[in-house]
Amino acid sequence: MLKNMKWRAILYAVINLVAVVYLLPTFVKMPTWWEDYLPSEKISLGLDLQGGMHLILGVETEKAVENTVERYGTDLEEMFFNERIPFDHVKKIAKDRLEVQIVDPAARDKAGKLLEDKFSVMKKVKVEETKDGIIYILELDKREAEQIKKSATEQALETIRNRIDQFGVAEPTIQQQGDDRILIQLPGIKDPKRALDLIGKTALLEFKILDEEGNLDDALKGNVPLDDQVLYQREVNRETGEVKKVPFLLKKKTLLTGDRLVNAQVRIESQFNEPYVSLEFDARGAAMFEKITEKYVNKRLAIVLDNNVYSAPVIKEKISGGNAQISGRFTPEEARDLAIVLRAGSLPAPVTILEKRTVGPSLGQDSIDKGLLAMIIGSIATFLFMLVYYRLSGLVANFALVLNILLLLAVLAGFRGTLTLPGLAGIVLTIGMAVDANVLINERIKEEMRSGKTLKASIDAGYTRAFLTIMDSNLTTIIAAIFLFQFGTGPVKGFALTLTIGLLANIFTAVAITRLIFDYFVVERRIKTLSI
């Protein structure tokens, strides 16, 4: 019995020591030798406690499919043109469908072969011969469409991760959720609006030529020439915050996109000290840019980002070397963010905000202060209560309670857990359950003592009887908590996590550790009465 007790004491001491080792880095800055050999994981604070932004974005994957089909349409037109196949039109008639009309029936074989060879992902669903030619209805292969959707989400995730990395946020969380959702958590972010602009921007950069022959006034009335479109330049007056929209009539055809960029940097223009973004194209992009500037010399080239015109300078001469610039009265932050999104590339499809939660750092601090205050007051009240009611046995119970919290926090640190406000509530509930366990044991011991048993027999019987009840009640709560953790979201999860760990620790501290202490006093010190 004595030997057995000694080993138990050593085992329990080791467990608690390990817990202290795991918990220390969270509270104290450890020296480097510690970090080399011993655990250095820390408990981090949830967004609700340290402030920050929680975002769920939905990727409009349907739009990615649509874009792809649209691009196939343009490719097809170009190919017909190059192969000299006379056609009337190629147009998108549904999200995943194109209608193609060949004028000359003689070109049927050639066109058919071309479609088969180069556009095999577009399935022919209908071929119709009319007096005006042959009409093909093409539909994007379903499996291909699924593939596009899948990779759109993955690519969006990658691009957003890139942008956030370059923006510089400490310990961001960026995860895919479900098929087309992206979860982003940015702890401690100071300017949520700016971060949101940076993340959510599609950042599709396009170069288009101005249609200077077309009539802009007519177009604004609704008579937009075929192959043209009207886009606007937003001019914000920095003093008044007023937004002015300047319309431009542009040729629809995109001459060059941001895909061909290798770099984008912020530069300061020397004359007015205004920042601009300098662009650098890859070899093919540089060649394309040279060809465009040669062909359209003396015309105006619009630089369009996400359907907003940024600038439309006149091409003075052919530009070789693959460099261009975007200027547009930027603030230094705007210029920097624009360079980041251009470097990180465009999103394959637009994203929408499905859920956004921001907590300011002042509220976070408030929550920590108030949560801790509530916990400390609640704990002190509980401690006093146990002491007054159970005297020395209450002290034992309180000791177990402290160890319970220690173990709970150590496990949380070991798993790099996050402490949230609901997590704090879980700890409060753990304290409640721990008190319950000790109350159950102590009341039972009292009862057994009243029936005339010796102290040792009473303690034995008390623990044996109460243990079953404690197991039952803790296990049912743990079962509930595990389901909560598995299927719950956000705050519910944090609550379930601390509760589960806390209750598991509780079974150990409230039953095993207090038992050891009682046993020590009864067997070793041979006490005959118990202050309970």
Binding site: L196, L354, K356, A425, L440, S473, V492
Partner: protein, 306 residues
């Protein structure tokens, strides 16, 4: 120290009739309140919408904010002061069919800036939940609640007799129903943290019932001469000091959470507080009667303790 003297014999079971009336009155009031208010009041987590927590640096009343919202054409916005009045802190909540919630909340804060001065307030918390996510969260929460209840029922069934499991489940439905009713009466919106509180209540209620049932089960073979109602009454009395001690200390900790915990866990603590009170009461007055009732109904004369 002893709060409850040993051999205390309150006649709990004799007063079942009054308890039954009390329970039904509470349930019916709650249900009427829920029906009158068109179902339980969901927070933005489950319904979609926007929540802003705004702290003003100067004297602003909830009425001022309501007026400002109304000027913007927001009909179903609600404004609620939080904390002490001198904090000038408010929760502004609006449901909107607006597709772009982000842009909308931007507009609201711009409007407030115009009306109350640009630097006179600080938006300390902004939560936007789209309707799609709201529906998802609602379904997930329901799933979590349903599954954890089933999990607990199976455990109790496995460890005890079926009638105890039934008693526990009836007690927890009773607790959740009354708590939901009180939430409806006090206009507390049900959000994710309140669901977490409801689940804790479920856990607590079951836990409490288990302690009493455990004692009944232990006493049954010892007291074969006694009637079941007497055994239950003795068991309830034997566990009474534990019930009061545990319930008391839990309620003490929760009051601390409720009073000092701050705005964000206010509703959570409130829900827990009510649930714990009801849960303590129900393990005596709901679970036990169900066990007795079930015993009278289905257990044959031989099995029944007489």
């Amino acid at each position: 120290m002893e709060l409850i003297k040993p051999n205390t014999k309150f006649d709990f079971i004799g007063k079942i009739r009054y308890a039954l009336i009390l329970s039904w009155v509470l349930i019916i009031i709650g249900v009427i309140s829920m029906i009158a208010k068109g179902g339980p009041r969901y927070g933005i987590d489950f319904k979609g919408g926007t929540l802003l927590q705004i702290k003003f640096a100067k004297q602003v009343t909830a009425g001022d904010l309501r007026g400002a919202l109304k000027d913007m054409g927001v009909e179903n916005g609600s404004v609620q002061g939080v904390g002490a009045e001198s904090d000038h802190e408010f929760l502004v909540n609006f449901e909107t069919e607006q597709a772009d919630l982000e842009e909308f909340s931007q507009k609201v804060s711009e409007n407030f800036a115009k009306k109350f001065g640009k630097d006179s307030f600080d938006i300390r918390r902004a939560e936007i939940v789209g309707p799609k996510v709201g529906k998802d969260l609602r379904e997930k929460a329901l799933l979590a609640v349903g599954l954890s209840c089933i999990g607990m029922l199976i455990y109790i069934w496995f460890r005890f007799e079926f009638r105890f499991g039934l008693g526990a489940i009836v007690a927890l439905i009773h607790d959740v129903l009354i708590t939901m009713g009180i939430l409806s009466l006090t206009d507390t919106p049900i959000d994710l943290s309140v669901v977490a509180a409801l689940l804790t209540i479920v856990g607590y209620s079951v836990n409490d019932t288990i302690v009493v049932c455990d004692r009944i089960r232990e006493n049954m073979p010892k007291m074969t001469k006694q009637k079941l109602t007497d055994i239950i009454n003795i068991s309830v009395n034997q566990t009474l000091s534990r019930t009061i001690l545990t319930g008391g200390s839990a309620i003490m900790a929760l009051i601390a959470l409720y009073v000092f915990g701050g705005v964000v866990i206010h509703d959570f603590a409130f829900t827990m507080l009510i649930g714990t009170l009801i849960g303590t009461y129900s393990s005596i007055y709901v679970a036990c009667p169900v066990v007795i009732f079930w015993g009278n109904l289905f257990v044959t004369g031989k099995q029944r303790r007489r």
